[in-house]
C-alpha cells in the first residue's frame, strides 16, 4: 500500500511539477547530511526525488541527533548538519554555521495507550520527571509505577522538552535514556507505565498523547499557535551554501518541498 502511495507520489511529481527538480539537471556532486532524527523523513524523500531525476548527484543521510548535526556540519564532515533546535551563539561563532529553518514540529508527552490518564499539566510533568510523582494513581490512573523515558544529551527534542516543559528542571537519574524518537516510541508503546516525549510527527496509534495544560498536541494546533511546545527544524551549512548543496536547500523550500514536509507530519516554514 505504501509502495503504491510512494510510486503514485513520484509519478505525480514527475508529471505535474518537474520544474523544481530542473535545477539538478546535468549536475554532479555529493551532499552528505547528518544530524537530527526528526529531519530524516523529509531529507530522505527529497533526496530520493532528486536522485531519481539525476543519479549523478549522490546524497547520503545519517541520523545521530542535533548534536551530531552541529558537530559534523561544523567540522565540515557533512555539508548539511540538521538540528532540531536553534544554534547557540557559541556554535555559530565557533563554526560559522548558517541556519535554514524549514519546518515546525511540536513536542508532545506520550504515554502508553492502555494508560487511563488523558490530561497532564506542565507542573505534573515536571514533578514526574523530577521523581516526585512515582505512581500513576497519584494522577488519577491505575496503581502502577511510572517509568521515565528521556532522550540522550545530543537530542534537540530533549532540549525543547527540557526548556519549554520542565523549565530546565532536573530529570531523575533513574530515567531510561533512549537514543531516538523511534526508540522512544517503541519503549512507550511496550511499557504500560511509561511516560516519554516525541516529536508530534512521530505520534501514531501505538502511543497516546495526553492534553498538556488543556492544549491538544497536534500539528494543526502547533501551526495555528494553540499548542506552544514547538520547535523549528533547521538545516545548517558551514558558510553560505553553494552548488548542489544550495540547490538541495532551495528544493526543500519549493512548494514541492513543502508538500514533502507536510507529508512527513510537519508544518512547512517559508524561507
Amino acid at each position: 500500500m505504501i509502495v503504491c502511495l510512494t510510486m503514485a507520489m513520484t509519478l505525480s511529481v514527475s508529471l505535474a511539477s518537474a520544474a523544481p527538480l530542473d535545477a539538478f539537471k546535468g549536475k554532479q556532486g555529493t551532499v552528505d547530511i547528518a544530524g537530527g532524527t526528526a529531519h530524516i523523513p523529509v531529507m530522505k524523500e527529497a533526496a530520493k526525488r532528486i536522485m531519481t531525476v539525476n543519479p549523478g548527484i549522490r546524497i547520503s543521510i545519517a541520523g545521530g541527533g542535533s548534536g551530531v548535526g552541529v558537530q559534523q556540519g561544523g567540522e565540515g564532515l557533512v555539508q548539511i548538519g540538521n538540528t532540531g533546535r536553534a544554534l547557540s551563539s557559541d556554535e555559530v561563532a565557533k563554526y560559522g554555521l548558517v541556519s535554514f529553518a524549514f519546518a515546525i514540529d511540536g513536542v508532545a508527552v506520550v504515554i502508553n495507550p492502555a494508560n487511563g490518564v488523558n490530561a497532564l499539566t506542565a507542573a505534573q510533568v515536571k514533578d514526574i520527571y523530577a521523581g516526585k510523582i512515582t505512581n500513576w494513581k497519584e494522577l488519577g490512573g491505575e496503581d502502577r509505577a511510572i517509568s521515565l523515558y528521556t532522550r540522550d544529551e545530543a537530542s534537540g527534542t530533549r532540549e525543547v522538552f527540557a526548556k519549554k516543559l520542565l523549565a530546565k528542571g532536573d530529570v531523575a537519574p533513574s530515567a531510561n535514556v533512549v537514543p531516538s524518537n523511534g526508540a522512544m516510541k517503541t519503549a512507550v508503546a511496550q511499557d504500560p507505565g511509561a511516560i516519554g516525549y516525541v516529536g508530534i510527527g512521530h505520534i501514531d496509534s501505538t502511543v497516546k498523547a495526553p492534553t498538556m495544560d488543556g492544549m491538544t498536541p497536534s500539528q494543526e494546533n502547533a501551526a495555528n499557535g494553540t499548542y506552544t511546545i514547538t520547535r523549528k527544524l533547521y538545516m545548517n551549512t558551514k558558510g553560505e551554501p553553494a552548488g548542489v548543496v544550495k540547490d538541495f536547500i532551495d528544493y526543500v523550500f519549493t512548494p514541492e518541498g513543502a508538500e514533502i514536509i507536510r507529508a512527513s507530519g510537519y508544518i512547512p516554514v517559508a524561507k
Partner: protein, 296 residues
Amino acid sequence: MSRPATYFVRTAVWGAALIVPLALAALTGVLVTRGAGALDANLFFGGVPALQAMTGRIPVWDGIWPACAGTLSLLGLTMLLALGPGIGCGIYLATSTASRAKAVLGFAVDLLAGIPSIVMGLFGFTMLLMLRRTIAPNAGASLLLAACCLALLVLPVLVSTTRAALESLPRQLHLTGAAMGLGKWQTLRHILLPSSARGILGGILLAAGRAAEDTAVIMLTGAVANAGLPAGIFSRFEALPFTIFYRSSQYRDALELEQGFATTLVLLVLSLSLLAGASKLQRTLEQRWQGIRDDD
C-alpha cells in the same frame, strides 16, 4: 568428594544443553514469526525493478539492497586489509625465536584483542579529526576508514588463531621439512601452513563474522542510513547491521518494523551462509593440498 563435583558438572551440562538452544530458538522464533512476512523483493529493492536496482541504475531508497552491497564491500575491503598483517604477524609470533620484541608484540596483540569495538570506532573518529587538521583537510568518514578500523578490530583474532594453529603443530613437522631440504619459507609454505590451514581458516572465518556483524565501529566511521550503493572507498555507505540498529530505533510504522525484523533475518542468513561457504572452502583446500581422492 568426587560425587558432588560430578553432580555439579552434570547439572551444568544438562542446564546448558537445554537453556542455550531454547533461548536461541526463542530469539530466532521471534525474528521469523515477525519478519518472514516482509521477506520479499520489496524489502530489498523498495519498489524499484530488481534489475535496475541491482545495477544501480535507479537508486534504492526504501530497500536494503544497498546495505547488503555495502556490507559485502565492507567485508571484502576489511579482510583485504587485515589478512596480510594478521596472518603475517601470527606467523612471526609463531616462528621467531623468543625475544623481548616478541614478548612485547604478544602483549600488544592481547591488548588489541581486548579493545572494545566502540573504542575502535572512537579511534577511527579521532584519527579522522586529526587527518583533517593536518594532512588531509577534505577527508571524511568513508568505507575505507570504516574498513581500516574494522581490520584493526579483527586483526588480533587472525593473529592469535594463526599463531595457535602453527604452534600446535608437532615440532617434528619443522624437522621433517628441514630434513627434506626445504628452506624455512618453503617449509612454511608447503608443510606448516597447509597443515595448520584448518585453524587459520577458522580464524579468518571468525574474523569475517565479526567484521560482518559489527555495528559500533562503523556507526562512528562512515555507515549512514541512506547512501545508495557504495560509490567508492571514499564515500559513505550503508551496512546491514547499522540498518538494523537504525530501523529498530527509527521505524515509523508497523511495516518498517516488520522490515526491520526481515532485515535481521537477512543478516543472519548472510552470516550463516558465510560460515557454511567457508567450511566448504576449507574442506576443498585441504583435500587439494593432501592430494587425497576418494575412490569410492
